[in-house]
């Protein structure tokens, strides 16, 4: 197995006023290059914490993570991050927001015109070529999230990390963006963004998009409960899959894990 990102025995203990709190324990996960992996679990299970560890915003209190042969020791532009609440800078236009990321990575090698082209390309990829010079407050929530994706992809990251990227969107927009994401990931095959880790609490989203669904147990001391291989052929079509027996099985497996094995008592 071609290990691209490996998470070895990672644990995370937060120091709180009430004493140490073990959020994550004994996390072992290996992700291949080009794989799309979802992290799913009940809220508070530490799936976002795990993503923040890979992002580098948090440092693990145990274990280590290695991305493409190098240990993760802090945040860096080799990992493209899409935040749940888009986190665009409101005083910059869409293009400027993306350009800020492009500039960070390519300023040493490329001219300003080239970098501007890169930023435009990234926004074109998410179908926002008409909103280059709009400010974030002038566009819809779905569009903002697309700018966030464009910003992350524009850096040509080794891995794309998404923290409930569509969680704040309405169901229709979410479905639309899921399809877009599938298309974008397919379009960049062999390029940036092919390896993806996505945190979600949406079962359909996880099954529809992922190669593997990593199901996490409830915290404290959450860990990986089960890993589900989604062997549905790509490209996947939302409507066709709705009645696909294998899709139903996979979906049922995730639901069973979440609502039987990891029943949340005080939800």
């Amino acid at each position: 197995m071609n290990k691209y990102l490996s998470i070895d025995d990672v644990g995370m203990v937060f120091e709180t006023k009430k004493g140490p709190f073990t959020a994550l324990k004994d996390i072992n996960l290996e992700i291949k290059e080009g794989e799309f992996v979802s992290l799913i679990g009940h809220s508070g299970c530490g799936k976002s914490t795990l993503l923040n560890l890979v992002t580098g915003l948090l440092k693990p209190t145990a274990g280590a993570m290695i991305l493409a042969g190098r240990e993760i020791s802090g945040p860096g532009p080799d990992r493209g991050v899409v935040f749940q609440n888009h986190s665009l800078l409101p005083w910059l236009t869409c293009l400027e927001n993306v350009y800020l990321a492009v500039e960070r990575v390519f300023a040493a090698k490329e001219s300003k015109a080239d970098m501007k082209r890169r930023a435009e390309e990234a926004l074109k990829l998410v179908h926002l070529e008409h909103a280059l010079h709009k400010y974030p407050h002038e566009i819809s929530g779905g569009m903002k999230q697309r700018v966030g994706i464009a910003r992350a992809l524009s850096m040509e990251p080794k891995v794309l990390l998404m923290d409930e990227p569509f969680g704040a969107l309405d169901a229709l927009t979410r479905a639309h963006l899921q399809d877009e994401l599938t298309r974008i990931v397919a379009a960049t095959d062999g390029g940036p963004g092919r390896t993806v880790i996505m945190v979600t609490h949406d079962v359909d989203e996880a099954v529809l998009l992922s190669d593997r669904v990593v199901m996490m147990t409830n915290g404290p001391a959450a860990t990986i409960g089960e890993i589900l291989h989604v062997d549905l052929p790509r490209p996947r079509d939302r409507l066709a899959l709705a009645h696909h027996p294998r899709y139903m099985e996979l979906r049922a497996a995730v639901l069973q894990f979440l609502y039987q094995k990891q029943m949340k008592v005080a939800a």
């Binding site: 992002t55 580098g56 915003l57 802090g74 945040p75 860096g76 532009p77 990992r79 991050v81 935040f83 609440n85 986190s87 800078l89 409101p90 005083w91 910059l92 800020l100 990321a101 960070r104 400010y135 407050h137 850096m155």
Partner: protein
């Protein structure tokens, strides 16, 4: 229904007003009624689809139950005029006692004073224009220096916890000190009245800028700082692309408060230091027992302060990004 029909009436009114000044062919064809200057209430009954109730023949003549929309600004203007009128009336009653000049006397005196604002008859007898300019100059220098030092200091305190903890006791101790308490120190250090006055302005107007800027930096949403961290931006990029724009609204509030304090303090400082300036002028006129001039000075100080404040509000609006 009534409420629904009022809304288009207001819109029509606004549109009719703008069309009168600059009639355009395109918009006139889309809203032909709007192009002709008719009062909004006369116009309403002829707009059938908007208000079906008004199609009743009895109502078509004069729709009594439709309130004529009074524009918001008109109500505000009336309220302001009423407030000022009450103020002048109260003043007139007070002036009956004989000590205070009446509004009319003051007005006549003001016409005289402002008729020749820029005369010079020796160092202690100059027009009100010169006095105001001299005060503004001191405020400008003192406040400008305070901004130059206070704003960067605020950024540093907001960004680095340690610095902020270091500065906290000193700031909390010095901030509540009355501005004029600093004057003797200024006189001692500078051995001259003018720099001492400027220094008082500086020291009393620096605090709001330091504190508001620091608070602004600390209020920056963690999301933006996460972006900075994830992109691993350089400290300069973090400052120019995130810290500065995010803090700007807070900073502008600090600047506005500071200017207010500076203008407040200058009058008092000049009373003590003398020379040319609106504060000195007040004191000089008190010595001359020229009470109308004192009242004129009070109004002048108020109006200049108001103008400064409005100027900064305008500037702040330019800088807001939402």
């Amino acid at each position: 229904m009534n409420a629904v029909s009022l809304k288009p009436a207001l819109d029509m009114h606004a549109e009719a007003g703008s069309e009168n000044s600059a009639p355009k062919a395109g918009s006139a064809s889309s809203a032909p009624e709007a192009a002709t200057p008719v009062a909004a209430n006369e116009l309403l009954p002829e707009k059938p689809p908007l208000a079906p109730v008004m199609r009743e023949p009895a109502a078509a003549e004069k729709p009594l139950y439709v309130r004529t929309p009074v524009p918001d600004w008109l109500i505000r203007a009336i309220a302001m005029a009423l407030g000022l009128a009450l103020f002048v009336a109260f003043w007139s009653i007070l002036a009956k006692g004989g000590r205070l000049p009446t509004p009319l006397e003051t007005w006549r005196s003001a016409v005289q004073v402002f008729g020749d604002p820029f005369y010079r008859k020796g160092p202690n007898d100059q027009g009100i224009g010169w006095n105001v300019l001299a005060s503004l100059g001191r405020v400008g220098i003192g406040f400008g220096m305070a901004a130059l030092i206070g704003i960067p200091l605020g950024f540093a305190l907001g960004r680095f916890r340690f610095l902020s903890d270091m500065a906290a006791p000193v700031i909390s101790l010095l901030r509540p000190v009355s501005p004029l308490a600093w004057l003797p120190i200024g006189l001692l250090v500078f051995k001259a009245a003018n720099p001492a006055a400027i220094y008082v302005i500086f020291i009393s107007s620096i605090w709001p800028m330091i504190i508001n800027t620091a608070v602004g930096v600390r209020q920056i949403p963690q999301d933006y700082m996460n972006v900075a961290k994830v992109l691993k931006l350089s400290e300069w990029k973090v400052f120019s692309k995130i810290l500065f724009p995010a803090t700007l609204p807070y900073m502008m509030t600090g600047v506005r408060l500071s200017i207010g304090v500076a203008w407040l303090v200058i009058v008092a400082a000049e009373m003590l230091t003398g020379g040319v300036g609106i504060g000195f002028w007040v004191w000089d006129e008190w010595n001359n027992l020229n009470v109308p001039h004192i009242i004129i000075a009070i109004f002048t100080v108020g109006i200049v302060g108001l103008a400064l404040e409005q100027l900064l509000i305008l500037a702040a609006r330019r800088f807001s990004y939402e």
